[in-house]
């Protein structure tokens, strides 16, 4: 029940959908249509995992009064406050200029600025690493850095000052050698994904079962 049934579900589900791909018959299509209706519903509930573990971690912190426990309220309050706002004010979900709402406000003016700013911090870090860590230590690293510099200059308008050849060379690298490397990686990764799919479907790889007790 604990291990065999989930493994069976994976195997039956996997083989069924794989075989289904090759069968255009109406019964096979009916199976598939049902699946496309069910999967989003089951998938929507998967949120429980995220919400549950976040709640558990932070309520634990608050109870134990661990270091910086106060900040856990900053997670928990919006976590439950946002859906609550949406329930008491359902039309506000659509957002937009016509119906300014607290719900929309939190998203557009707190979530969006914070998240985009956090990612933009990387611009600073990359500059610092450029000076302190990116080294042409070997022939390979040297080629890499040279290609990077050509592409970097080629992609910005100032590159045209040095002549058309620079952006053109950058594009040539992108279109041919880069394509070759990425295609080889895509094929390799593709085979890797396919092999993993097979291993999971046929119960060879079972790591995903972990974390829920024996």
């Amino acid at each position: 029940m604990k291990r065999t049934v989930p493994l069976m579900i994976v195997m039956v589900g996997g083989i069924l959908m794989m075989v289904q791909y090759f069968i255009p018959h109406q019964y096979s299509q009916a199976v598939f249509t049902n699946y496309t209706q069910w999967a989003p519903i089951v998938g929507a509930f998967a949120l429980i995992l995220g919400v549950g573990s976040l709640t558990r971690v932070h309520s634990h912190k608050i109870r134990r009064k661990t270091k910086n426990w106060q900040y856990s309220w900053a997670v928990l309050i919006p976590l439950y406050g946002m859906p609550f706002l949406a329930i008491i004010w359902p039309q506000s979900l659509a957002g937009g200029m016509d119906s300014p709402s607290i719900f929309h406000f939190f998203f557009m003016h707190i979530q969006v600025p914070i998240q985009s700013t956090m990612f933009s911090l990387l611009a600073f870090y990359i500059a610092s690493a450029a000076f302190r860590a990116f080294r042409a230590k070997s022939a390979l690293a040297t080629i890499l850095l040279l290609a990077a510099v050509i592409v970097m200059i080629g992609q910005v308008p100032i590159g045209e000052i040095f002549g058309r050849w620079l952006p053109e060379t950058g594009l040539w690298i992108l279109r041919y050698p880069n394509l070759a490397a990425k295609r080889a990686i895509m094929l390799g990764v593709g085979f890797g994904i396919l092999a993993t799919n097979l291993k999971i479907i046929f119960g060879v790889e079972r790591n995903w079962l972990g974390g829920a007790g024996k």
Partner: protein, 209 residues
């Protein structure tokens, strides 16, 4: 008014995150925690409004889609993950989603990322009327793909003309590809910074358009 307050709040949090560049501080920590809560809270509300309500609750209430109780019950099993003793029940919905998703994606991935790529790699490198740099590029592309594949081939030692030279060319091609990725990644990170500066200088301070 609503917009103005919004932009001031947004600017405050933008600066709060940037303050981290100088030193870690409580306001940064507050912002860092808020974003976790809001994003998941928003996701919950949107998921309820767009999925559960129209696809599950409304059909169920209308009374003739009882079959939808099956995925609903399966979904609810996720909760058991937090109930010691029956936590293993949460494997059922995971197994359902994972198994079927992999079954669906297997032939499609095979087609998109393997067979179509093979098809494209087998294009003739020369056709009349092609400029020289394109022909040269195509030759580089074909040999480059082959060489890079050799580099990732583990069943033979990297020795001899074919495997030895092949893998050497392969790693050079891979490095050119990574160089391009490097350059583009730098570009992307800078772009994100540009977005924020446009927000601060434009939307907030109106110093630029």
């Amino acid at each position: 008014m609503y917009e103005t307050i919004g932009i001031w709040v947004g600017a405050f949090f933008t600066l709060a995150i940037y303050s981290f560049l100088y030193k870690e501080n409580p306001i940064y920590r507050l912002a860092e925690h808020l974003v976790v809560g809001i994003s998941l809270g928003y996701t919950m509300a949107i998921t309820y409004d767009i999925t559960l309500k129209p696809r599950l609750i409304e059909p169920l209430l209308s009374g003739n889609h009882w079959i939808l109780l099956v995925p609903a019950v399966l979904g609810i099993l996720y909760i058991t993950r937090f109930i010691p003793g029956i936590a293993w029940l949460s494997r059922y919905p995971i197994a359902f989603l994972m198994g079927t998703a992999m079954g669906v994606s297997f032939p499609l991935t095979l087609k998109t990322d393997v067979l179509r790529q093979l098809e494209a790699a087998m294009q003739p490198f020369y056709m009349s009327g092609m400029p020289w740099h394109e022909i040269f590029g195509n030759i580089v592309m074909i040999f480059g793909t082959l060489a890079a594949l050799i580099y990732f081939f583990f069943s033979k030692p990297h020795k001899g003309l074919f495997f030895g030279t092949g893998s050497k060319i392969g790693i050079w091609v891979i490095m050119l590809g990574f160089g391009a990725t490097f350059g583009f990644t730098v570009m992307g990170r800078i772009s994100l910074l540009i977005g924020r500066i446009q927000y601060l200088l434009g939307d907030w301070l109106h110093l630029i358009e």
